[in-house]
C-alpha cells in the first residue's frame, strides 16, 4: 500500500492503535507486507495503468498540438505540451469526409443500438418464463448459433442476395443480435423478484405491461450495460463496412475513415482545399495532427460515456460472467 499511495498523491493513514502501520482493511492475521513485494506490486500495476493511459494521453495531446510542436517533437507523438492549437479539428470539420463520417457513425450507432436493444429486451423477456410454449425450442435455436455459423462467405452472399450491398441496413441488421447478451439479460429478468411480477399479474397486468412497468425499471443496470455494449459495437463497427460498403467514401462511418486514411494512409479527399499549407505538402497522407484528431474523434464518445456507466459494469458484468 505504502508505495502505491504516493503515486496517487494520497497519504497513507496510520493503522488504529498498532505500533506498526497497518493498512486499513488488512486483516489482523495477515503478515505485514514486505517492502520488495509492495514495490513489485506497485511497479506492475503502474506499468499496467500507464500502458493504457500513456498512449491515449499522447494521442489526445498530439491532436491538440500545432504543426510546429509536432515537428519539434520529431514528427511523432507529442508527450509534453508545447504549443497547443485546435487547427486539426478545424480542418477535419471543414473537411466533408470526416464530418459526414461522424454523422453517419452517430446515426448507425443510434439506430443500431435502438434496434438491438428493442429486439434483445423483447426476446429476453419472451424467453424468461419457464415452461412457456416453445421456450426450450427457441432457446436451443438461439444457442446453436453460438456454436456453429455458416461462415463468412454464405453470410455475405445472403446479404448481397437481399440487395444489401451499399445499403446502411447491411451495416446494422446482420450483426444486430448478440445471443450472449440476450442470455445475460434473460438471467436478470428471471431473477427479478417474483413477488413483484406476481403482484402485477394479480393487478391485471399482461406481459407487455409487466415488462415495461416492473421488469425494466428493476433491471436498469443491465439495460445500461447492454446498451453500452451494443453502442460501442456499432460505433467501432468496421468489418461490415469493408464487406458491404468498401468503395463509397461518402457513406463511410468514422471507423472506416480511420482505417482508410490513418491506418492505410490513403489521401483524404478535400484536405488540400482546406487551405492549410501543411496539408498541401503532405500529398500522401493527412498531416499527423489531423490523423490523431480522427483517432480522438473515435475515442471520445467512449471516453465520455465510460465514467457514467463504469459503476454498472462490475455489477452487470460480474453477474453476467457468472451466469454466462
Amino acid at each position: 500500500m505504502s508505495t502505491l499511495e504516493p503515486l496517487l498523491g494520497r497519504r497513507s493513514k496510520p493503522g488504529a492503535g498498532t505500533p506498526r502501520k497497518r493498512a486499513k482493511g488488512r486483516p489482523v492475521w495477515e503478515e505485514p507486507p514486505s517492502f520488495i513485494g509492495q514495490f513489485g506490486k506497485g511497479a506492475v500495476l503502474t506499468v499496467v495503468v500507464l500502458a493504457v493511459v500513456l498512449p491515449l494521453y499522447a494521442i489526445i495531446l498530439t491532436s491538440l498540438s500545432s504543426e510546429a510542436a509536432i515537428t519539434r517533437a520529431g514528427g511523432s507523438l507529442v508527450l509534453v505540451p508545447d504549443g497547443l492549437s485546435l487547427n486539426a479539428y478545424h480542418e477535419i470539420f471543414a473537411n466533408g469526409v470526416v464530418t459526414r463520417a461522424v454523422v453517419v457513425s452517430f446515426m448507425i450507432t443510434a439506430v443500431g443500438t435502438g434496434v438491438s436493444m428493442a429486439l434483445s429486451i423483447l426476446c429476453a423477456y419472451g424467453l424468461s418464463r419457464a415452461r412457456s410454449v416453445g421456450h426450450r425450442f427457441f432457446l436451443t435455436m438461439m444457442i446453436f448459433t453460438m456454436f456453429f455459423s455458416g461462415g463468412l462467405i454464405p453470410g455475405f452472399l445472403v446479404v448481397t442476395q437481399l440487395h444489401g450491398y451499399d445499403q446502411y441496413w447491411a451495416l446494422i441488421l446482420p450483426s444486430c443480435i448478440s445471443v450472449f447478451n440476450i442470455l445475460i439479460m434473460r438471467g436478470f429478468y428471471q431473477a427479478t423478484a417474483r413477488d413483484l411480477v406476481d403482484a402485477a399479474r394479480i393487478d391485471g397486468a399482461g406481459d407487455w405491461r409487466i415488462l415495461w412497468s416492473v421488469v425494466l425499471p428493476t433491471t436498469k443496470a443491465v439495460t445500461a450495460v447492454m446498451t453500452l455494449f451494443y453502442a460501442v459495437g456499432y460505433w467501432g463497427s468496421w468489418f461490415n463496412t469493408l464487406l458491404y460498403m468498401p468503395f463509397d467514401n461518402n457513406k463511410w462511418p468514422l471507423s472506416y475513415v480511420l482505417y482508410e486514411y490513418v491506418n492505410i494512409g490513403a489521401k483524404m479527399p478535400g484536405l488540400d482545399q482546406a487551405g492549410s499549407g501543411a496539408a498541401v505538402q503532405h500529398q500522401v497522407a493527412p498531416p499527423f495532427a489531423i490523423s490523431m484528431a480522427v483517432v480522438v474523434l473515435t475515442l471520445l464518445p467512449i471516453l465520455i460515456v465510460y465514467p457514467f456507466l463504469q459503476k454498472h459494469f462490475t455489477k452487470g458484468m460480474l453477474t453476467g460472467a457468472i451466469k454466462g
Binding site: E5, L77, R129, S132, F147, I302
Partner: protein, 337 residues
C-alpha cells in the same frame, strides 16, 4: 390490449365453480402445470411472449440460419447471378482443391500456432493480474485500476491497431525515441517473425481488463474465513495462494479455458485483416482471412465457403471436445452434461 387478451384467455380453463379472479390462476402459472393444459390454451396464454420472440427469431433465421443453409455454396461453383439454387453443382471439387492448396494449409497452420501462442502467453495474464489486484486493499484504487484496464475492451480493433502503430510502429513513439538516442530502430508492427507476439500483446492490451473482471468475480466468491484459518495454521502468502486462491478460481479458469479452446480457430479476424498488408500474408493469413481473400476479394465464393465450412466444423468439434474435457474435470463448461 395484451392485458385484455390474456385475461380473456383464462376463464375457459378455470374451474367454473371458482370465484377467484381469472388472472390469479395465471399468477402461479408454471409450478403446478403438471395438469395438462391444451396447447391451444397455452398458446393463447403465452401469445404476448411469443410475439416478443418473433423479431429476434426472424433476424436469426435470415442472418444466421440462411447462411448455414448457404454453406451449400461450398459444393457449388457459386455465381452471384444464379444464386444458391441455380449455381453449378460441383460436389466436393472445392474441397479437393482446398485440401491440395498449400496456402490453405499454411493458413491453417498459422491459425493453430497463433492460437497456441495466445493460449500460453495471454491466458495466465488476467489471472495473475486479478490475483495481484485483489491484494490491493484500497477499494478506490482497485476500482480505478480496474476501470482503466477495462477501457480498451471497448475500443475497436482499428482503433487499437492505430494506437499500437503510433506507439510501436516505424514512425511511432518507441522508434522515435530510439532514433533520437542513436539506437537501432525496431519496427515491431511490420516484423513478420515477431508478429505472433505482437498480436498476443495487442490482445492482452485490449482484453486483459475483461479477463481481470471475470477472475476478480471468482476471487470475490472465496470465503475469507478460509484464508484466516490457513494463516492461523501457519500457511504463508504463497501457500495460501496455492491452496486457497487458485482452487477457488478453478471453475472460472476452466470455463475460460473451455471458451478459449472452443474458439481456438478464431484468432482475431479483424486484427489479422487490418495488419495482413503490413506483415505480409505468410505471417498473418489465418483461416478467416483466407476465406475472405479467396472468397470475397477473389470472387471465388464457393472456394471461400468451403474454407469457412471446414473451419466451422472443426470449431464445432473443438467446442464439444473442450466441454467433454471440462466435464471430465468435474466442471460444467459451457453447458451441463
Amino acid at each position: 390490449m395484451a392485458v385484455m387478451a390474456d385475461g380473456a384467455a383464462v376463464p375457459e380453463e378455470t374451474r367454473p365453480e371458482t370465484k377467484a379472479p381469472p388472472r390469479e390462476r395465471e399468477g402461479r402459472d408454471p409450478a403446478p402445470a403438471k395438469r395438462q393444459i391444451s396447447l391451444r390454451v397455452r398458446l393463447r396464454r403465452d401469445k404476448s411472449l411469443l410475439i416478443m420472440i418473433v423479431p429476434t427469431m426472424l433476424v436469426l433465421l435470415v442472418f444466421n440460419y440462411l447462411p448455414m443453409f448457404g454453406t451449400i455454396s461450398a459444393f457449388e461453383f457459386y455465381d452471384p447471378i444464379y444464386g444458391f439454387f441455380h449455381s453449378n453443382w460441383v460436389g466436393l471439387q472445392n474441397f479437393n482443391q482446398l485440401f491440395g492448396d498449400s496456402a490453405f494449409w499454411h493458413a491453417f497452420q498459422n491459425t493453430l500456432v497463433l492460437s497456441l501462442v495466445q493460449l500460453i502467453l495471454y491466458f495466465p495474464i488476467p489471472i495473475a493480474l486479478a490475483i495481484l489486484l485483489n491484494t490491493v486493499l484500497s477499494t478506490k484504487l482497485r476500482s480505478f485500476i480496474q476501470a482503466v484496464v477495462y477501457l480498451p475492451h471497448f475500443f475497436s480493433w482499428v482503433l487499437v491497431i492505430t494506437i499500437f502503430n503510433q506507439m510501436l510502429g516505424g514512425a511511432g513513439l518507441l522508434n522515435q525515441f530510439l532514433r533520437q538516442h542513436h539506437m537501432a530502430t525496431w519496427d515491431i508492427m511490420t516484423n513478420g517473425s515477431t508478429f505472433k507476439y505482437l498480436i498476443t500483446f495487442q490482445a492482452v492490451w485490449k482484453e486483459a481488463g475483461w479477463g481481470i473482471i471475470v477472475f476478480l468475480a471468482a476471487l470475490a466468491a472465496i470465503d475469507p474465513a478460509l484464508y484466516e484459518s490457513a494463516a492461523v495454521d501457519g500457511a504463508g502468502r504463497w501457500r495460501r495462494m496455492w491452496h486457497i486462491t487458485l482452487p477457488g478460481m478453478r471453475g472460472m479458469i476452466i470455463l475460460m479455458l473451455v471458451l478459449r479452446l472452443g474458439n481456438a480457430l478464431n484468432v482475431g479476424f479483424e486484427q489479422m485483416l487490418i495488419q495482413r498488408q503490413a506483415v505480409g500474408p505468410q505471417h498473418a493469413e489465418v483461416l478467416d482471412t483466407f476465406a475472405y481473400y479467396y472468397g470475397i476479394s477473389g470472387n471465388n465464393f464457393g472456394y471461400g465457403a468451403a474454407a469457412g465450412l471446414f473451419k466451422g466444423v472443426i470449431s464445432l468439434i473443438l467446442i464439444f471436445a473442450a466441454n467433454k474435457a471440462a466435464h471430465r474435470l468435474g466442471e460444467d463448461g459451457l453447458y451441463r452434461k
